[in-house]
Amino acid sequence: MSLFLETLIGGVLAGTLYALVAIGFVLIYKASGVFNYAQGSILLFGALAFVSLKDAGVPVAGALAITVGLLIVTAIAIERLLLRPLTNRSPLTLFMATLGLSYVAEGVAQGFMGSQVRALDLGIEDLPMFLGDIMISQFDLIAAGVAALLVIALSLLFNRTRIGIQLRGVANDTLAALSLGIDINRIWQIVWAVAGLVGLVSGLLWGARQGVQFSLSLVVLKALPVLIIGGFTSIAGAIVGGVVVGAGESLAETYIGPFLGGGITPWFAYALALVFLFIRPAGLLGERQIERV
């Protein structure tokens, strides 16, 4: 029983790290209907910028402030140079634009900051804690706490601030928001900046675990099944999806893996997502879109 509980708890905590990545996608999709393929590259860009500044001797607070500034400038540049000229184009066009953006972001990040793997020490030891016989990762526990704080902060932003209400207005009905005088370009800039900051947080946590390197941009592969299960439009859904994927793949690897030759986690998450697509195409907490045809 303790093995089951440990596997379950470990999976749930690992799932919150997946959820963090997925939240970045949700923010942009919710506000603009764009599936941002470049989220992984932006995550890499942020983490690489932070660790490069830190390695160059900039104090942690300074490195964080400069990185946040860089991400805000990047968000403004993306809105001005990419999204604004493509206003009213199809979602597929916007998706392809973010595909191109991902290559540019990866190239710029590696070109200017190098491709060497960098160690990132956040001061959180990846050591075990014990609850009776059950081992829990201290790092995963803190990461889950960070994810919880981030979700609370985002909820406050969306529900208790003027910007958040405008953002929700744009998400619900762009034309109505425009007719009410909401500056949609500014909203997009804010959303991309917030998604960049969420990417930075997840990039730093993943980077501390596996080193800051190109592979960080691939953690988005973990976010896709999370989004399908949780729904593309719900932050709470991303959390639930992350937990379902994390716990599901962990239990599957432990209890089903040995019968299938092991190493089943990547495809198991997608198989699980496929099941949800059949049962609940909009995801657990996603908005069902009904169109008259």
Partner: protein, 445 residues
Amino acid sequence: MRRLLLAALLAGTVLGGGAPACAAEVSQYIPLPTYRVGAYASSGELWWAGERDYFRYINEVEGGVEGVKLNYEEFETEWSPDRTVEVYERVKAGKDGSPLAFFFTHGTPATYALLEKAAADKIPLIDPAGGKTESVDGAVFPYAFPLLFSYYSQASTGINYIASKVGGLDKLKGLKIATVYHDSAYGRASQPAVDALAKTYGFENIQIPVADPGSEQSPQWRQIREVKPDWIFLRTWGVSTVVALKTAQRFGFPANRIIGDVWAGSESDTIPAGSAAVGYSALAPYPGGTDFEIHKRLKAEILDKGKSNLRDAKLFGAVNYNVGLVNAALAVEALRTGYKHFGARPLNGEEGRWAFEHLTIDPARLKQIGFDGLLQPIAITPTDHEGGGAARIQSWDGSKWVLQTDWIKADHALLTPLIKAGAAAYAKEKGITPRSADSAEAAAR
């Protein structure tokens, strides 16, 4: 006019790859499929710097190989086999009057993709410490050269090292040895050898796969905690090595009981793992460090003169940089062998095969070229395309790799029948009639 001149200069730099080829003399063309961007760029960037620095040293300090300059040119592939195949197709006819003597694949998947094509084109594929293990048998695979250290040799050397730590091969009986491997053709490549070694020496063989990219490995290491192995052979790659070391620490498995293979033993694996990597050991056919004669020569002639391709001079002597140096040296010595036989002129593929099949670097020659301790003595023959099969062991002390042993040989008496059987099965499947040693000699003369 100025724009035109600039464009011409730029085009020359890009297309020429920076190689100092001279129009008046015909140089030996060496294409280099590389990956300076993408998921494996952290290894590649240093590897190509090592190769380029050594080729530059040969051209500028030694005046080429037997007077023949090397014209090397990079092609970015992002470690993608299909792009490497495309590069191969573009360069297989040679360039600027030079035929292609050999083709570095720089990756096992690309070697697999080109195996039949290159054999048909009669162009040797060079993939040290990689490639298809059965292609060690040159009778069946005349144009494939998995030089130095096949995947079977990696398994055997790892087990031999564990035996030396526990008091001898007879003490392996009853031990539990788990292989944590990248779930890919590369990761699975050593399994037949470990199976045979387990049957011979009586240890329990536990195989635990980690799916790519391996960024979450708690289930695997939880399984290890349940099984309680005595030693772990780590055959991971890229991020899966870093995560394995960190997760092992979390689950309380000591790093000094983990032996990494060739491609899990560089600074890119240990630095990000921090304290979790201290005490971790790895097989080193390419030892790290700068305590070798060649590094003194390169420092004086290339680094200190600002000619190195390294982006960061602190990485001079890193494991992956030394991979590039050793591979470049193998190519240079093979070409030298060929030029002495055929004359000092660019070689074609068949001549390149002969050159590699007669490549011998003995301890005296290793000292002459400055690779003593960095490269094992090697002797390739028409029927043995590995020619070495040994590695040193190095351990990570928290800041650098420290060599622990001299060269440890693989158990070739046990491995050769496995390789021959695999090659024979391949020959049967493809309808290949294996060469005899005599026919191999006659073909190239």
